[in-house]
């Protein structure tokens, strides 16, 4: 995608270009091959107000500092690669526009997972939590010739939690997760919800047993950070509450 963003040298005086805005991009850097400490870098960028922040980062990387490192792929909020802490909020850099954050975007890695380089964090513990809740349909009652039937109403019960793209924005915005990495975290619970409330699935009890352990849902303190952070608009806290209720009342 072509982009109108231009990186300015610190010495360069900003030139007014019609319809463009100026954006200061401040990034917390970290490179274990250089230093054990993180540091801050800042660039001033001139760009279209509708430019995506991830493309602004690309302009910096491609034309100013190739060492700036971040994950990205689809650039329109579907793949979940570019979750970052942007101006204090977990967001996908491809769903934030320059005008949303101007005049300044302060960007840090998402919290609670080890930083490996710049904005890249270790996703493996997050994926391990996801795997721990048996994230696949379990039904041992024999397979029909065609499809299993499911009413639109039953399909609707877990619709919201099928949207999850495993970007980790929710889990890494959760203060309980920051304090205790053993907590399975909102994303894993969302994916458990997706199966617990699927009428075709038969392993709800098994998942609820996993989630009723001390690392599970009852660690949630209902701060709603996860719901605010979800770039897919999933009502994460509500899903967690539904799982809690299902465990307490054995109803699902």
């Amino acid at each position: 995608m072509a982009t109108a963003a231009q990186v300015l040298d610190a010495s360069e005086r900003p030139v007014q270009v019609h319809g463009q805005i100026q954006l200061a991009v401040r990034v917390r850097r970290f490179n274990p091959e250089i230093s054990d400490e993180s540091w801050w870098d800042e660039w001033t960028v001139r760009c279209d107000p509708l430019e995506r922040l991830v493309e602004v980062l690309h302009q910096i990387k491609w034309h100013h500092d190739g060492t700036l490192t971040f994950r990205r792929s689809c650039a329109h909020g579907i793949c979940g690669s570019d979750a970052m802490l942007i101006n204090g909020r977990n967001q996908l850099a491809c769903k934030v526009l320059a005008q949303d954050v101007a005049p300044r975007a302060t960007i840090e890695p998402i919290r609670g997972l080890a930083v490996l380089k710049d904005l890249v964090v270790d996703m493996d513990p997050f994926m391990d939590d996801y795997r721990s809740i048996l994230p696949y349909l379990i039904n041992d009652s024999g397979e029909p010739d065609k499809e299993r039937r499911q009413s639109p109403e039953d399909r609707h019960r877990y619709d919201d939690t099928t949207k999850c793209i495993l970007c980790a924005a929710c889990t890494t915005s959760c203060p309980v997760f920051w304090g205790d990495g053993d907590y399975v975290g909102p994303a894993a619970i969302v994916n458990a919800h997706r199966f617990i409330f699927d009428s075709r699935d038969e392993a709800g009890r098994e998942r609820m047993k996993i989630l009723s352990e001390k690392t599970g849902v009852f660690r949630c303190r209902t701060t709603f950070n996860c719901t605010d952070a979800c770039p897919r608009g999933i009502e994460v806290t509500k899903a967690i509450q539904e799982v809690k209720r299902a465990i307490l009342f054995e109803r699902f």
Binding site: M1, G66, I78, L116, Q150, R155, I165
Partner: protein
């Protein structure tokens, strides 16, 4: 430092085709999937509208009608037996996805719901048919998630954030493994295997306006091309008519399947003139060309007069909310347009590669006119050319392609592995990849990869997009020569070992240049217009001379040699493509 691994089979790519192949393989042999992304981030997840199969859940349908539509949609460059096979296997493939948990939208009686899609018709073109099975407008996301879930269930082994840099072949041409680069550490890995399945997706990032993810850089096609494998029908690249203006982000054809229409700047529903029977549900190549024609005649909108509009504002808001939520959000976020109230500015966007690594219907890579099988080498999904999409893929058939041929490739690779012993390889199999990386890393000054990439994307968009000609393509070929010279001198700033995305993006740019070379060579030689390939200097289809596939070979001296092979015909005789 190079680490050597030994498996029976290695799958390169963690998208839909790769995961589907891995499910098949992992139960029967020692399998590893290498993926440059975490698999759930693959671009299969961006597919929106649906996956077609003639289930007949909401109205009468048959696989044969589906096959006909696929062949006609592909402007008769489709290998007809492959299309027949795909559309027949489609039905079971969809039921299998459902039984694996895919949350399809449902009919009132609980069956998989189906909706209309471009080019899919009842009884050979009579009227649009409801054939696309869907999960809101995130069908690809749900397929990717479901296949990944099944891999988790089967404990499939992954090496995530590993890039494939080279294919290892023995002297007799058999497959012996790959060379991979570990992003986290910068280490090279030699992965020895009896079978290699390439499933690396497309290469839309060679164009400025594209629906494709940044990761779609043609790694698989480029790697095998450099090792003597031809690329088939590379000139056949689909431009999807409804990309979000400026950005290229896809707005699903499902919008039109649900009743959306395309307008010009005068508010006219111009597809009524171009495809009187199915109008806005004409195949993508026709709608994209119609948009270009409207623009050419001065009826384009926007600041440069090169936009059309997708209008869904007349649809029931509940339908939009239930069935098209994501694309509605894209318009709101990226263009600040409210689709329930106003038309959304759109522009054709580079979307899908019909061409790629030539395979048979078992996913086996085949070389030459006589289709000699390369032992142990497989490809599936967008990087492959079976060819079921011919000159223009119908909407939803890509998701179908990857489940049907992903499975078939995995199945045949597992059979092959059981019958074959591991080829021995010589020491230093990674030498060529290592030399390439070191050349880039050690150069202290040189050309900037970002500049080369930008010029590639700008010029390909300008000269090799919806409308092409001898003149534009020759110019593009010349530009590519210059870009390659500059690429040979490219230098980067990041010299580190950990997460050196600067280095990998530069390697990917090299892959893109290869794919662009092959695309332009095919487009130049094919002096006709067929499907997505439109030559304004040869505006008609020419079956007498061009009812054949192109094969591009990279010769050892760097030049490209073009060859051809016949289209496999079947019951459908080429006729004029009217809708």
């Amino acid at each position: 430092m190079t680490t050597t691994h030994t498996y029976d089979a290695v799958v390169v790519g963690g998208g839909g085709a790769g995961l589907r192949a891995a499910i098949e393989l992992s139960e029967r042999c020692r399998t590893i999937v290498i993926s440059k992304l975490y698999p759930t981030r693959s671009h299969t997840g961006a597919a929106q509208g649906g996956v077609c199969a003639a289930l007949g859940n909401v109205e009468e349908d048959s696989p044969e009608w589906h096959a006909f539509d696929t062949v006609k949609g592909g402007d008769y460059l489709v290998d007809q037996p492959a299309a027949q096979l795909m559309t027949e296997e489609a039905v079971e493939a969809i039921y299998q996805l459902e039984r694996w948990g895919l949350p399809f939208n449902r009919t009132p009686d609980g069956r998989i719901d189906q909706r209309r899609f471009g080019g899919h018709t009842r009884n050979h073109g009579e009227a649009p048919v409801r054939r696309a099975c869907y999960a809101a407008d995130r069908t690809g996301h749900m397929i990717l998630q479901t296949l990944y879930q099944q891999c988790v269930k089967r404990d499939v082994r992954f090496l995530n954030e590993f890039y494939c840099l080279d294919l290892i072949r023995t002297d007799d041409g058999s497959t012996a493994g790959i060379v991979a680069y570990e992003l986290a550490t910068g280490e090279l890995h030699v992965i020895r295997a009896k079978a290699v399945v390439f499933a690396t997706g497309g290469y839309g990032r060679m164009f400025r306006v594209t629906s494709n993810a940044h990761a779609l850089t043609g790694d698989g096609p480029a790697v095998v091309w450099r090792r003597g494998i031809p690329l088939e029908d590379m000139e056949m690249f689909q431009f999807h008519p409804t990309g979000l203006a400026r950005l290229g982000v896809l707005l699903s054809e499902a919008a039109r399947g649900e009743g959306g229409i395309v307008l010009n700047s005068e508010g006219e529903r111009f597809m009524e003139r171009y495809a009187p029977t199915i109008k806005d549900l004409a195949p993508r190549d026709m709608v994209s060309r119609a948009i270009y024609q409207e623009i050419k005649e001065g009826r384009g909108g926007g600041p440069n007069g090169d936009w059309a509009y997708l209008d869904i504002s007349h649809l029931d808001p509940e339908v939009i909310e239930e069935k098209l939520p994501d694309i509605t959000e894209f318009a709101r976020i990226y263009l600040k347009v409210e689709p329930t109230k106003e038309p959304v500015p759109i522009q054709p966007t580079a979307h899908y590669a019909m061409g790629g690594i030539p395979t048979d219907t078992d996913g086996r890579v085949v070389v030459g006119e006589d289709e000699t099988v390369v032992p142990g080498l497989y490809a599936a999904g967008e990087c492959a050319c079976v060819s079921v999409h011919g000159a223009n893929r119908l909407g939803t058939n890509s998701l179908l392609d990857l489940v049907v041929f992903g499975r078939r490739a995995g199945d045949d690779a597992a059979r092959y592995v059981a019958e074959t012993s591991l080829p021995s390889i010589e020491r230093g199999a990674e030498a060529q990849a290592l030399a390439q990386l070191n050349a880039i890393l050690h150069r202290t000054t040189g050309d900037n990869a970002g500049d080369i990439r930008k010029e590639l994307q700008d010029t390909m968009f300008e000269l090799a997009f919806v409308v092409r000609s001898e003149e534009s393509l020759s110019k593009m070929q010349q530009i590519l020569g210059g870009l390659r010279e500059r690429y040979e001198r490219v230098a980067i700033t990041d010299k580190g070992a950990a997460y050196n995305t600067d280095l990998m993006e530069t390697v990917e740019l090299g892959f893109l240049l290869d794919c662009a070379d092959a695309l332009v060579a095919g487009a130049l030689i094919r002096t006709e217009s067929r499907g997505a390939h439109y030559r304004e200097d040869h505006p008609l289809r020419d079956d007498a001379n061009w009812l054949k596939h192109t094969l591009a070979y990279r010769e050892p001296d760097g030049t490209i040699r073009m060859d051809f092979k016949p289209v496999k015909m079947g019951p459908y005789t080429p006729m004029e493509r009217k809708y």
